[in-house]
């Protein structure tokens, strides 16, 4: 595993972020007092091509803000973002439009992110139609193809996403994200609402798709344990800053920052208890 991680580390970066800052200001009622939330404070991040980078942090650490900046849904106040070697943070709207299909996001609340009035197949067809990539019978064929790729039966194409289970909805959201053949996929807490068993299945699906579609992932999660199993690189966010970043091996075996240690400890306690129970009850 160790040599592999080093091997991956020399891969070029697909996405680079330099000194990103983002601040939200809220004004309190009945007073001139302002609440300032620094969601991002001088964030530097490199996402290696063809790798799975996990971004871990507690709620409110700024990881979702970073995701929407990298997904060009939001503009950072300051700082620069490079994608495939070209600067996107100040790109004009035409360039951004050309860029958008390459960067796709999958959100946590897939029930809310999928239009319930559309059928499953229509949901996948929509981005293809808007971008004018396919039409007519080819459109439906492509949708079925994508559904099969994410492990959904094409027969389910006519059903509403509301009839799907949480895991199936997440698969559908991934299929839609794949429709435009992106190179970079941001998964913002996409696994959080799911059962452990489903999380593992979806993670395996992502790993399979990574090889077949040569994808680069940024996987955002508040839970280090499962994501840490499959990530090539792990970045830990805390109070708007990236406090630790390195290969999976480095972060797990030799954490530097106190917050990383704390996160690992709380994961460790639960797991250790489980291993103890496994051994202890054996006699």
């Amino acid at each position: 595993m160790g040599t592999e991680a080093v091997g991956r580390a020399i891969k070029p970066a697909l996405v680079k972020a330099r000194a990103l800052c983002k601040r939200y200001v809220q004004r309190a009622p009945f007073s001139r007092k302002k609440f300032v939330i620094d969601a991002l404070m001088d964030v530097d991040l490199e996402i290696a091509l063809g790798c799975l980078t996990a971004l871990v942090g507690e709620s409110g650490s700024g990881k979702s803000t970073l995701a929407s900046c990298l997904g060009i849904l939001e503009k950072p106040d300051r700082g620069e973002i490079w994608f495939e070697g070209s600067k996107v943070s100040f790109a004009n709207s035409r360039e951004l439009t050309a860029l958008r299909p390459k960067i796709q996001m999958v959100f946590q609340d897939s029930a809310g992110a999928l239009n319930p009035r559309f059928s499953a197949a229509q949901i996948i067809e929509e981005p293809l139609e808007i971008q004018g990539r396919e039409s007519g019978a080819r459109l439906r064929a492509r949708a079925c193809e994508l559904m099969e790729e994410v492990g959904l039966s094409p027969d389910a194409g006519n059903r509403s996403p509301l009839e799907f289970s949480g895991g199936q909805r997440q698969r559908l959201a991934i299929a839609r994200a794949l429709a435009l053949k992106p190179t970079f996929l941001i998964l913002d807490e996409s696994l959080s609402g799911l059962d452990l068993a489903t999380q593992a299945q979806i993670l395996n699906l992502l790993l399979d798709l990574q090889t077949s579609h040569s994808l680069t992932y940024l996987l955002i999660s508040h839970d280090l344990s499962l994501v840490g199993q499959v990530a090539d690189f792990v970045a830990v966010m805390h109070h708007g800053k990236i406090v630790e970043c390195g290969s999976r091996q480095q972060v797990f075996s030799a954490p530097q920052h106190a917050h990383t240690k704390e996160l690992l400890a709380s994961v460790g306690v639960v797991e250790a208890a489980f291993r103890t129970a496994q051994v202890g009850g054996g006699q």
């Binding site: 507690e58 068993a197 593992a200 499962l226 797991e271 208890a273 103890t276 009850g281």
Partner: protein
């Protein structure tokens, strides 16, 4: 009803002394107008002793939330419920609504999923706890406020005054969670049910909440049913564990024994999922996570045989035609599988 009649006669309860809650052959069926009804719970039987922590393990759709709602009498009107739920020797299913109300919140209470959604957005948090005390106990506004503050302190909330006057949107996830626990404990119930309540929490907060629940359980002697999809949370926490699949109990027993020597293939699969972050990894040789292949079957009344059979690695021809009854392979443990232990 012919489908499930071939169950083994129910084994006598292994627990000594009186059980706090005794559930027998509980079957819940949701019926909708245009669809064939399928049982969401199939002949579920278990006991919980006073002061015990029972962990219920299962995926969404396994019927664990239905079970929690059935114990509180909160199932929607389109449900048919069969069986008995004896609580302190009183059959809950025979009670009328007003008796239910006396029990809910006072003797059996629930920590609901997503405290952010299960608290009213337009009421102060303190008032929402006071309302529960008001519903169950005599007293005036002043004594209720004092009781509330005591309850809030009891769940390790320090700034009681601020929390009392806050609205839910002004509190953090961890604080909201403690408020939800405070609500459940306000009237010192004998049984608390926590339904997937730590799911949305940060890992560090989750650990704190688990510690708190355990501490309260020890101090007050109230029994706890903790429902989760993550087996790791139950280790060192629950006294006993009960694994549910597709509306039935597939295995139950003391946590340490079930975790060290799982008998049912589904339990084995679930336990394999637990990551090993520290020492090595449990990835397969292809670099993939271990999974239980397939997904929950669509429940329909005409399904035959063991419901886990399509996903099972130790299935035999027998499993397709007959549903396995519950057997007691050793003291305190029960499993529903023909080929358990293989």
């Amino acid at each position: 009803m012919g489908l499930f009649t071939n169950m083994m006669p129910f084994a006598t309860v292994s627990l000594e002394g009186a059980a706090l809650l005794r559930v027998r052959a509980l079957t819940v069926t949701y019926s909708t107008r245009n669809r064939q009804s399928a049982p969401a719970l199939r002949r579920v039987s278990f006991d919980i002793a006073p002061g015990e922590i029972l962990g219920i393990l299962g995926e969404s759709g396994s019927g664990k939330s239905t079970l929690a709602l059935a114990i509180l009498g909160l199932l929607p009107a389109n449900c048919s419920v069969e069986g008995t739920i004896l609580f302190q020797d009183e059959d809950l299913l025979q009670m009328d609504e007003s008796r239910w109300r006396e029990i809910r919140g006072a003797k059996i209470s629930m920590i609901f999923q997503e405290p952010g959604l299960s608290l009213s957005p337009v009421m102060r948090v303190g008032d929402q706890i006071a309302e529960i005390i008001r519903a169950h106990r005599p007293g005036n506004g002043k004594t209720r406020k004092l009781e509330c503050e005591a309850v809030l302190r009891g769940v390790r909330l320090s700034e009681v005054d601020r929390i009392y006057r806050a609205y839910p949107h002004q509190l953090s996830g961890g604080e909201l969670h403690r408020v939800a626990i405070a609500q459940a404990l306000a009237c010192r119930p004998d049984l608390v049910i926590a339904d997937e309540s730590t799911r949305s929490l940060d890992v560090t907060v989750q650990a704190e909440v688990l510690n708190l629940l355990r501490e309260i359980n020890r101090k007050r002697g109230s029994a706890l049913i903790f429902i989760t999809h993550n087996p790791a949370l139950l280790a060192g926490f629950a006294d006993r564990v009960m694994v549910m699949y597709a509306g039935g109990i597939v295995e139950q027993g003391p946590t340490a024994q079930v975790f060290s020597r799982p008998l049912h293939p589904y339990t084995k699969g679930l336990l394999q999922l637990i990551p090993r972050s520290r020492n090595g990894t449990n990835l397969t040789s292809e670099g993939r996570l271990p999974v239980i292949p397939g997904s929950l079957p669509a429940l329909n009344p005409s399904s035959r045989g063991c419901l886990f059979e399509p996903r099972c690695s130790v299935r035999t021809a027998h499993c397709q035609n007959e549903s396995p009854g519950e057997v007691t392979p050793e003291r305190g443990r029960r499993v529903s599988c023909f080929n358990y232990g293989n």
